[in-house]
């Protein structure tokens, strides 16, 4: 029991705990106070004024920026507050392109939701933003200033959490907008496509690019054979939209749905993640022999690779040459079906917006055609399943296709921060027992903390590891490395806080629930019979077959930005 005293919310006495602000306490007490500019992981902005409450003296406080005090007495739903909230909403809507039915965020829009909640049946002001004004220059996100309500969530996400700073407020007063430096198209800015801005945007001002129509067309083409791979993190985030629990594994149902929708061959990216683990541990072991000052950075996360290219070009030589699991799989699939009579189309279902950019990179093209033709995010696949009319929960779970039907627990945990590291450690550890696996799980690589450190002994050597998620954290770790305060041998970096399970392509999830998705993946790992990537029999088959003499060419990449051909 805390001794912070009590206060009264709408006549109900509640105990004050360690809540940072009134808003948290009010929500805990069971009232869903409306907000547009509040996201628990970001700093307090206090711009939207929707969370105003009336205090005992009749004064108004913004609940998000007011700490709870003992003896306070507030009301959250008075006639006056309702009037103010309606007024604010009307003013916001007057500056908002209201083409809801054709908006990419319809149904998930907080502004739409509040307009319904507060019964906005008319807007008294002239609409100043009639038409959409989309900036389609990025492959990952679409930005539309006519749908922006200037809540600043994206700005704070981009600078506070990701430390990218691609966007900020510019100009002032009625001319204010959120834009890039010099108003250049977002695709030409230092935006890295992580899409985290879209996860916190309350409206349709920043949405993930949609490629569903193009994929539907391919599915309808009789001359095309459409193969698809599904990333680990997708299976624990998709089901919630169809009534499953957050974090519940719905892989079997997804496979079943995709097959009914017309995908010809369905694979699990975890299989390719096993290849990534083996290639990456080999690279690490080679580097350990050579004694480098700087660590080996992982390369699975395309937003991190982008960020490194743009901010730390000098460190590109330290980024693993391993292709991401998505690209490894794409190379393997391309090789497998290169003699097929049908036109091959490969789709990747990812939790990630930056994968859309990765797929279009020149390094991952064969004869000028991308190895991955389309990247669909989890959100887009949800739309496709809904569009197909399938009743998801009525489907029977099905298994992925051969010849790539086997994966290990290591491949699956790639989807959560620390997963890549854990998988690599399982591979290089000399302890092959089950208790060895358990030890690795508890050395500090698990959990949603932004920077985790671990130390393991490999052979004679102590290997220092950092596991980082969120690019702001990555910047801090790199600063520490550069200044010499820290020394690591291996650094895993995932751009999205929490790793791929919290990717911007996934349905939105409040920060405090992210752990459920991670738990989901760890329980999938528990249920797989093979835990170490090297023990996947399929991997051996591949190395002795399709990948023979080609493994370097198909599984590694030399980013043009890295400057030099790297060697393994």
């Amino acid at each position: 029991m805390s001794n912070n005293g009590t206060m009264v919310i709408d006549g109900l006495t509640v105990e004050i705990g360690d809540e940072k602000n009134l808003l948290e306490l009010i929500r805990k007490a069971g009232t869903e106070l409306p907000t547009l500019c509040y996201a628990s992981e970001l700093s307090i902005h206090g711009a939207c004024r929707m969370c105003m409450v009336e205090n005992e003296r009749g004064g108004l406080d913004a609940a998000c920026s007011e700490p709870p005090r003992a003896g306070m007495e507030i009301r959250t739903n008075t006639e006056r507050l309702r009037k103010y909230r309606k007024n604010i909403l009307e003013l916001l809507l007057a500056n908002h392109c209201r083409d809801c039915t054709t908006c990419g965020n319809s149904g998930h829009c907080k502004l739409q939701d509040l307009a319904i909640r507060f019964n906005i049946d008319r807007v008294r002001f002239v609409n100043m933003a009639l038409d959409p004004k989309p900036d389609n220059s990025s492959l990952c996100i679409t930005k539309d200033e006519n749908k922006c309500i200037l809540c600043g969530n994206c700005v704070r996400m981009c600078s506070e959490i990701q430390d990218v700073g691609a966007i900020d407020f510019a100009f002032r007063g009625s001319k204010m907008k959120v834009t890039t430096a010099f108003n250049i198209p977002i695709g030409e800015s230092n935006c890295i496509g992580c899409g985290q801005c879209a996860t916190v945007c309350p409206t349709g001002a920043i949405v993930v690019r949609d490629n569903t129509e193009a994929v539907w067309r391919e599915l309808g083409d009789k001359n095309a054979e459409v193969t698809v791979q599904i990333a680990p993190a997708v299976r624990v985030a998709l089901g919630k939209e169809f009534g499953l629990k957050e974090g519940e594994n719905s892989m079997g149902l997804i496979v079943s749905a995709l097959r009914r929708m017309g995908f010809h061959k369905i694979f699990d990216t975890s299989t390719a993640a096993d290849l990534t683990v083996l290639e990456e541990s080999r690279e690490l072991q080679n580097r350990l022999k050579e004694k480098h000052d700087f660590p080996l950075f992982t390369s699975c996360c395309p937003a991190w690779v982008n960020h490194c290219e743009k901010r730390y070009p000098e460190l590109m030589a330290n980024v693993s040459t391993c292709r991401s699991p998505m690209q490894m799989f794409a190379s393997v699939i391309k090789e497998q079906y290169c003699n097929s009579s049908k036109r091959q189309v490969h789709v990747a279902i990812m939790p990630c917006t930056a994968k859309k950019f990765e797929a279009a990179r020149n390094e991952f093209k064969t004869d000028e055609r991308p190895n991955v033709n389309y990247v669909l995010t989890t959100q887009e696949v949800i739309r496709m399943i809904k569009g197909s009319g399938l009743i998801f929960s009525n489907l029977e779970p099905e298994a992925v296709d051969s010849p790539f039907g086997l994966m290990t627990g290591s491949g699956v945990i790639f989807g959560v921060t620390g997963g890549v590291t854990e998988a690599v450690l399982r591979d290089i550890s000399s302890d092959r027992s089950n208790s060895g696996l358990n030890k690795i799980a508890f050395i500090g690589v698990r959990g949603m903390t932004g920077v985790k450190e671990a130390q393991v002994t490999v052979g004679e050597r102590e290997v220092k590891i950092a596991v980082v998620s969120g690019l702001g954290n990555a910047d801090r770790v790199i600063e520490a490395l550069k200044s010499g305060c820290k020394k690591y041998d291996f650094v895993e970096i995932m751009a999205c806080p929490g790793g791929c399970v919290c990717g911007a392509g996934q349905p939105y999830i409040p920060a405090e629930l992210k752990i459920d998705r991670a738990k989901g993946l760890y329980s999938v790992d528990k249920l797989t019979s093979i835990k170490r990537s090297g023990e996947n029999p399929l991997v051996d088959l591949l190395y002795n077959g399709l990948l023979k003499n080609k493994s370097h060419q198909l599984l590694h990449v030399s980013y043009t930005s890295a400057g030099k051909e790297s060697h393994i």
């Binding site: 600078s159 700073g165 691609a166 407020f169 510019a170 430096a181 010099f182």
Partner: protein, 161 residues
């Protein structure tokens, strides 16, 4: 036209403020003093040295009317349009200057980069209204004709040198 940037000088300005992000306004002001505007080319350099994103620098420079991202003329007219000057007919003065230099509210600098005409909210010299400044020097009790005269003599000076 790209302005030549002496990055040593820019670094000097940054150093004088210890590269503090909180000193960004002062740093931008001093850069503007050097070049009469804030050249776009300094943004990446500033961003790296101070640790503020280019988007944030753009945010600050577009927020304050005082900062200019457009190159300005050698001679800058600032016509006061504060309340006192406004009621004592500052607008006709502004219009006259703009007309004679073929400028407008959007286009404030002549193509030869000699003259810039802009307004200012209040110079604090209401007793002398309507006033204008030319490169900081105050000219009181202006009329459109007096402004024309000033412009004419300045044009001659420019031609002779």
């Amino acid at each position: 036209m790209d302005t030549y940037i002496d990055y040593q000088k820019v670094d000097g300005i940054i150093e004088a403020h210890h590269g503090q992000p909180s000193a960004i306004i002062a740093i931008l002001q001093e850069i503007q003093e050097q070049y009469r505007y804030i050249p776009r080319q300094v943004f990446p350099h500033l961003s790296r040295r101070i640790g503020l994103s280019e988007a944030s620098l753009y945010s600050v420079t577009t927020f304050y009317e005082n900062f200019s991202l457009e190159q300005k003329g050698k001679i800058v007219f600032k016509v006061c349009d504060g309340t006192a000057c406004h009621v004592r007919k500052s607008l006709p003065i502004l219009e006259r200057l703009r007309k004679e230099l073929s400028l407008s509210e959007e286009k404030i600098t002549t193509d030869d980069l000699e003259f810039t005409v802009e307004t200012v909210a209040c110079l604090g010299a209401c007793g002398l209204s309507p006033v204008l400044t030319i490169n900081g020097k105050v000219y009181p009790a202006m009329t459109p004709d007096k402004a024309s005269e000033l412009l004419k003599s300045l044009k001659e000076e420019v031609r002779s040198c």
